[in-house]
């Protein structure tokens, strides 16, 4: 199994305003397999989003090492944010094009790529709208389109469905799986919903708090598409719940 990313001995501390040092993560070791769908699951405040930020390069002050596959460079990373993080002064089209503008992609190529993503996420009608004119579900579609327009090899998702209603979240979950297959992506996602983890991932890392560390890594071999009413689904759910209990 080839690894896209490897975390070794990662430790992250924060300093509070009254000068105390809080250890957010300690001794985090994790291997993200190339082409795999890895989910970090844990309760709020356990440090799972911090691990994601360290992996994606958004957090740079930490001890330990993050090793990338030689084929994966910083420009091959995409990120979908929990609260969309769309730039409100740019239209949907411009938001999607942001990474391509940064790479000085020729106009024709940029335009084609943006059109492809607009169509993929059913956003064509809203190409010239501003984020404030869209519903939460549409905004997250733009968030996905923006991340995927850069043709990433590794896609990070920080609780991407938590701000959405259950119907929209369910739709986007299906689309995410389809995109994962279509584009041979390595996906690392953070969630606190056990069902999401079992439905989507083939590797589930349980993160527990105080200080945050990887408690256990489950390999999810349930056949796809996954049946949430199957006994094996419930069995894995029970195991995960037991691991997450304080």
């Amino acid at each position: 199994m080839r690894a896209a990313l490897i975390l070794q001995g990662v430790r992250k501390t924060f300093r509070t305003e009254d000068g105390q040092t809080i250890v957010a993560l300690d001794g985090v070791d994790l291997t993200i397999p190339t082409g795999g769908f890895t989910i970090l699951i844990g309760p709020s405040g356990c440090g799972k989003s911090t691990i994601l930020r360290i992996l994606s390069g958004l957090e740079r002050t930490f001890d330990g090492t993050v090793t990338f596959d030689p084929d994966v460079r910083a420009s091959h990373l995409g990120f979908v944010f929990q609260q969309f993080a769309l730039l409100p002064w740019l239209t949907v089209r411009e938001n999607i094009a942001l990474g391509l503008i940064a790479r000085s992609t020729p106009n024709a190529v940029r335009s084609n790529t943006v059109e492809r993503e607009l169509e993929r996420f059913q956003l064509v009608q809203f190409a010239d709208a501003y984020p404030r004119e869209l519903s939460g579900g549409m905004r997250q579609r733009v968030g996905f389109a923006r991340a995927l327009a850069m043709d990433p090899k590794v896609l990070f998702l920080d609780e991407p469905f938590s701000e959405l209603d259950s119907f929209t979240a369910s739709q986007l979950r299906k689309e995410l799986l389809a995109i994962w297959h279509e584009r041979s992506l390595t996906i690392v996602m953070v969630t606190h919903i056990i069902e999401d983890a079992i439905l989507l991932a083939d590797q589930i890392a349980v993160v527990t708090p105080r200080p945050g560390h990887i408690e256990r890594v489950f390999t999810n071999t349930l056949p796809r598409p996954r049946d949430r009413r199957s006994p094996s689904f419930f069995a894995l759910e029970d195991q995960l719940e037991a691991s997450l209990k304080p």
Partner: protein, 247 residues
């Protein structure tokens, strides 16, 4: 989908209506005082032409000073808003902004005499600080994940300036401009009086000191300009700048 489109149209219409309201109000504020000025200047025994020339000369000086202050203030804010440069420079700028402009006037006057350059230099020193600090505040305080989205996109150099720094700084530039110009008018009249320029509103007020009606007329002319510019330019711009960062 249809709902989002109709909301879009509604917002555009609302924005247009509010801009139209501003223009109508400005028209009332400009036209009525203009008629009033012509009528009253006859009574005050001065020519409307004298007053208009003084108003125009003063306005022109302020506009030049504002353009220089806005450009310099914005550039300095972008250069010094964060990192090691900010830690070094911001405390120094904070002290400098407290320094009274008029304390520098004698030196400036020795350098350039009772000229336009002297007035403009004094005005730049007054107007630049509100712009600088408002822009610094705007570019420092925004949603963290916008910055992270830009970092993930690897936006750098001119695209970073165009697609990120400029849009988030505009609100600060406009707020700072409104405050800076407010202070600028006060400094303008005082500087023109102290420096002794041959024309401008400061000189007009000095020359009309014994004529209360002419003085009142000058004050009304000044108010008419300030209100008009605020209504026609700054308030619509302020509304627009709030809309651009609205989510």
């Amino acid at each position: 989908m249809r709902m989002a489109t109709s909301q879009h149209i509604q917002r555009i219409q609302t924005g247009f209506l509010s801009t139209r309201q501003h223009l109508l109000t400005a028209l009332v504020i400009v036209v009525l005082p203009a008629i009033f000025l012509v009528a009253t200047s006859r009574v005050a025994g001065i020519t409307t032409k004298v007053l208009l020339i003084d108003v125009l000369v003063s306005s022109w000086r302020l506009v030049i000073a504002y353009v220089i202050a806005a450009a310099l203030g914005w550039l300095c804010a972008i250069a010094f808003y964060r990192g090691r440069r900010a830690a070094l420079a911001l405390p120094i700028f904070d002290v400098l902004q407290s320094f009274p402009t008029f304390a520098l006037l004698p030196i400036v006057r020795i350098a350039w005499g009772p000229s336009n350059v002297t007035v403009i230099a004094a005005l730049v020193i007054t107007v630049i600080w509100p712009i600088f600090f408002s822009v610094v505040s705007a570019v420092k305080h925004h949603r963290q994940d916008w910055e992270e989205a830009v970092r993930i996109a690897n936006l750098r150099g001119f695209p970073y300036l165009r697609y990120f720094l400029w849009p988030i700084s505009v609100r600060g530039l406009i707020t700072g401009s409104i405050i800076g110009l407010g202070e600028g008018w006060e400094a303008l009249v005082a500087t023109e009086m102290i420096v002794g320029n041959p024309n401008g509103l400061g000189q007009f007020f000095l020359a009309s000191a014994a004529n209360p009606l002419a003085t009142t007329l000058g004050i009304l002319a000044l108010l008419a300009i300030i209100f008009s510019v605020n209504k026609m330019l700054w308030l619509p711009l302020l509304e627009w700048s709030h809309q651009t960062v609205e989510e």
